[in-house]
Subunit: 216 residues, 2 copies
């Protein structure tokens, strides 16, 4: 599969590297064509990895991962271009964390809206699937770093897109029974709003190898 | 121990009955002295159970449980009277769910504040401990209805008050390792903000016998 990564931080690099390891071709996009992180990432991940602009990455990918900070996601995706995203599956991993007022961070949007919904509203022709945003990126791509099974959530309006993302999650090592489909994209509110609890738990377990498990 | 329950809904009744079963004396308080739910609850729970006003229940208890809906908690506790609450441990079980605009519910307060913090600010002489609010009331008083261990959170500014609440939780059946102290009362934001995710999971698992487990 051809995959575009929007964002050059640790989340984008970790997801991108895992996807390359799984045999996909991955282009990491940033604001500029020669972002140092992106070029370095591409160099260290072999011939299936490449770097470019947001627009290049969006045009390249059949599936796009939004790995930007939530507060700048809409802007980055506008730069990526609605014509390049149209009809594609966009996995939204962003969280609206605002650290600008100190700790603990607050959310830039919550309660009656979410980053996932904002993206879906802004790009109605894109199949947005919210997932992966409730854990550290090490856990995202290797769920076994957390002992025993833990849970991962899906939210989105397009059933086929969610099935596609489910397949990618399973290729990361998520067992079928640990993937919980919460419903439409408005469920993004729920998964983004667990971040304040996640941040508290991070204070207790700084190695970040923890996760939520829904037991029933 | 003498315990006052503020609120006559299912949460208050379930906690009150469990506390009576454990040998405590429990007074359930409501706006009026003869609330039908409270009188009925007292009658069916034997000689250690009684009913009265919010103020009666607050004066009676050494430990107080706030089991009102989050949107009316401050008002109910003002009726209970700061002089009756002063110096006591108040376990805040409330969630700020607002169903008035339809489903899914929104929160009346979140992100930069919480019900737990509002109560602590309004009653600075009360030792507020946020707990129990992240699960159905059946699970609160009998954690084994969820298979395997699940997690319960504590938040509050007073270490001694949290120890007291931890003891009550253990008497309900919560194992020591499943009780997670998140820190001061501002951590109430985190536990109240998981409710939108909880509501989505409730849609999937309507028997409500589910809970969050933190795995690490």
């Amino acid at each position: 599969m051809k995959i575009g990564i929007i964002g050059t931080g640790m989340v984008g690099a970790t997801l991108g590297s895992k996807l390359v390891q799984l045999g996909h071709e991955v282009k990491m996009g940033s604001r500029t064509a020669n972002n140092e992180n992106a070029v370095e990432w591409a160099k260290s991940n072999g011939s299936k990895a490449s770097a470019g602009t947001f627009s290049d990455a969006a045009a390249f990918g059949d599936v796009i991962f939004n790995c930007t900070a939530g507060g700048v996601s809409l802007n980055a995706l506008k730069l990526a271009g609605s014509e390049n995203l149209k009809g594609k599956v966009l996995v939204d991993v962003a969280n609206p964390l605002d650290f600008s007022k100190g700790m603990p961070p607050t959310l830039t949007v919550c309660n009656t809206d979410s980053i996932g919904e904002q993206i879906q509203r802004t790009f109605p022709d894109v199949k947005v699937v919210k997932s992966l945003n409730t854990m550290n990126c090490k856990v995202m791509v290797e769920p076994s770093v957390v002992p025993g099974d833990s849970s991962i959530f899906l939210a989105g309006n397009d059933a086929g897109a969610k099935e596609k993302v489910r397949g990618i999650l399973e290729s990361f090592g998520w067992k079928a029974g640990t993937i919980i489909d919460l419903g439409d994209i408005t469920a993004s509110r729920g998964t983004e709003m667990v971040l304040p609890l996640w941040m508290r738990l991070y204070g207790l377990y700084p190695n970040q190898s923890f996760n939520f498990r829904i037991v029933k």
